[in-house]
């Protein structure tokens, strides 16, 4: 099909598409909701979770405690609210690390080509060869468990992902004629990368970002679940699941609510990613 597709005025067209895109709408609604919950938790939660009233422990859901209380008598709703901060922060920073290091590496590899490219990509392969969770376990064994180390562990494995995506994207932009034109205008690799390459791969990076963000939340909950993520008293969804699993029989709500929180958040982010892909990736848009 011809590349001369008629593109409507870009931003307006995107907006129109956005409103017609179900994945995008649901996904962004969930994402915004979770972000709001996290924000609100800084100012207000139904109960103070730092003060334990053990006598109150393991109350099933009620009006006073809509999601019940845990084994220390803490309000699970408040815990989930505050836990969202942890999940979001860990995933966000880990994605930030992945992007901050991976994108420059990928862009550099694509811009230089040759042995630079080969070396960088082989280094990527080596990182990839380590099963991520295993390395996370090793990292936390050295530095001790905790949110920061979980971030580092997850972040490291985001680096090759973004490096690959950025490189693949950049490689497809470099041979474009407008890049040649920029080179004919005497612009250097770095300048072209900033002016032409990055803006044009921003969309795929953003999409990958939402995917990695969702994976980060899952990874954080996995790490917390084996006791290597956020540490008490800081609540975390994975940790809550871990804490509650022995009590599944008598207090299933303790495991269900944090589990749903994870599923809903990850679902929201994935939907958002899908929606963004539909909106921003012209190749797929054309297909519709």
């Amino acid at each position: 099909m011809s590349a001369h597709q008629a593109a409507p005025s870009r931003s307006f067209g995107l907006l129109l598409h956005a409103f017609g895109n179900r994945s995008f709408l649901i996904g962004s609604a969930i994402t915004v909701l979770i972000a709001l919950v996290a924000l609100v938790s800084f100012f207000w939660t139904p109960y103070d979770i730092t003060h334990l009233v053990v006598a109150n422990k393991m109350k099933p859901p009620s009006w006073a405690h809509p999601f019940g209380t845990d084994h220390f008598g803490r309000d699970i709703l408040s815990m989930i609210m505050i836990g969202s901060r942890n999940s979001i922060a860990v995933a966000l920073v880990a994605v930030g690390i992945g992007m901050g290091i991976g994108i420059p590496i990928g862009c550099w590899a694509a811009a230089r080509g040759g042995w630079v490219d080969e070396t960088l990509m082989r280094m990527n392969d080596i990182v990839f060869a380590f099963p991520a969770l295993l390395s996370a376990v090793m990292i936390t064994a050295i530095f001790g468990p905790g949110a920061i180390n979980a971030i580092i562990a997850i972040g490291i494995f985001n680096v090759p992902v973004f490096a690959r995506v950025a490189r693949a994207g950049a490689m497809s932009i470099w041979p474009r004629e407008y890049v040649l034109a920029a080179r004919a205008s005497g612009k250097g690799r770095a300048q072209i990368t900033i002016e032409h390459i990055l803006p044009n791969i921003a969309a795929i990076l953003l999409i990958q970002g939402t995917i990695q963000f969702a994976l980060g939340i899952l990874a954080e909950s996995g790490l917390s679940y084996v006791g290597l993520g956020a540490q008490p008293p800081m609540p975390s969804w994975g940790r809550m699941l871990f804490d509650s699993q022995t009590r599944m029989m008598i207090a299933p709500y303790q495991a269900l609510f944090p589990g749903f929180a994870i599923v809903v958040t990850v679902l929201g982010l994935n939907l958002l990613g899908d929606g963004l892909r539909d909106l921003l990736d012209p190749k797929l848009r054309r297909e519709r």
């Binding site: 082989r122 392969d125 080596i126 990839f128 060869a129 380590f130 099963p131 991520a132 969770l133 295993l134 376990v137 090793m138 064994a141 050295i142 969702a214 899952l218 909950s221 996995g222 679940y225 084996v226 994975g238 699941l241 699993q245 599944m248 029989m249 495991a255 589990g259 994870i262 599923v263 809903v264 958040t265 990850v266 679902l267 994935n270 939907l271 899908d274 297909e287």
Partner: protein
């Protein structure tokens, strides 16, 4: 082809060497004294010293590294400090649980995902498509350990048809052993299947939009025939990539799942060895896992060439 293979092998080898250095260096800085851990709070200093020299911990770091590497090249992975049995034996003992688990999960996830993906792609836009992709969306979002927990309560506690965990060993017979692996592999496979189904579907859709599909249709072949004969093989290329990545993921995923089901597999072995500072076991298992990732990538590369003739460089 052979040049291509040789290059991949060389890269794999370099990966392994770098990995061995990284692993060894990283574990050197792990805090905690394995001898102290073994002898506990009442141990006398002499007893500790005696144990350390038994473990070879009194040698210098480079000497230990080269001893280790040299040993591994000869097929000797050293002796576990805590289990005081050869690491290789441990790995084999555990591997015969983990490997079948990973293979079973991979098999399950492919067996579920690829037909679903193809089905959804061939019925694009129908309710069946939306339903299966909606399910896949949720599948991707479910943490596998949580799913495992739900499975245990459903099948072991409530229905009592499957064991809640543990592994009777292959000696107990194929069926009891397999029974113990059903839930763990399901828990591992389902989220992976969800991802794979989505990839399969989008790869299929992408391929179905290619010009050569139109050429094939212009020959008079029906939609279905074209789907199977022309689209499938081309769509398998991205699917293979994901499968390769998933294998590494499955290996790591076993760490958590083996914990949930207390299966005596490699994942549990490293996890336990790390907490017990049985570093030689950790090193051995990590190297093995890295090597298997390298091998799987190699296999995927070879499969690529099998699927896509453009990658078969003529010698």
């Amino acid at each position: 082809m052979s040049a291509f293979l040789a290059k991949r092998l060389l890269i794999g080898l370099v990966t392994l060497i770098v990995a061995s250095i990284v692993v060894f260096a990283v574990l050197e800085i792990v805090p905690g004294d394995p001898a102290l851990l073994m002898l506990g709070m009442n141990a006398t200093p002499e007893a500790l010293e005696a144990l350390r020299s038994q473990m070879g911990l009194d040698q210098s770091i480079p000497v230990r590294y080269f001893n280790w590497i040299g040993g591994m090249l000869m097929g000797d992975f050293g002796r576990s400090w805590t289990y005081s049995s050869p690491v290789l034996d441990l790995i084999i003992e555990r591997g015969i649980v983990s490997l079948p688990l990973a293979i079973l999960s991979l098999f399950l996830s492919t067996a579920i995902a690829i037909p679903v993906g193809i089905f959804a792609a061939s019925r694009r836009g129908t309710i069946a498509d939306s339903a299966s992709m909606g399910a896949a969306q949720i599948g991707v979002a479910i943490p596998n350990f949580w799913f495992a927990l739900l499975l245990v309560y459903l099948f072991a506690v409530w229905l009592r048809v499957l064991p809640a965990g543990g592994f009777p060993g292959w000696g107990a017979g194929i069926w009891p052993a397999l029974k113990a692996l059903i839930m763990p592999s399901l828990a591992l496979a389902l989220p992976q299947a969800a991802i794979l189904a989505r990839v399969t579907r989008s790869a299929m859709l992408e391929v179905l939009g290619e010009d050569y599909i139109r050429t094939a249709r212009a020959k008079g072949m029906s939609r279905r025939t074209v789907l199977w004969r022309h689209a499938l093989r081309n769509a398998m290329i991205p699917v293979l990539t994901i499968l390769g990545l998933q294998f590494a993921f499955l290996l790591a995923g076993t760490i958590i799942i083996e914990n949930v089901f207390y299966l005596p597999g490699l994942g549990r072995l490293v996890f336990q060895a790390i907490t017990q500072r049985d570093l030689i076991v950790v090193e051995g298992v990590v190297m093995l896992l890295v090597a298997s990732v390298v091998v799987v990538n190699l296999v995927v590369d070879i499969l690529y060439a099998a699927v896509d003739p453009r990658l078969r460089v003529k010698a």
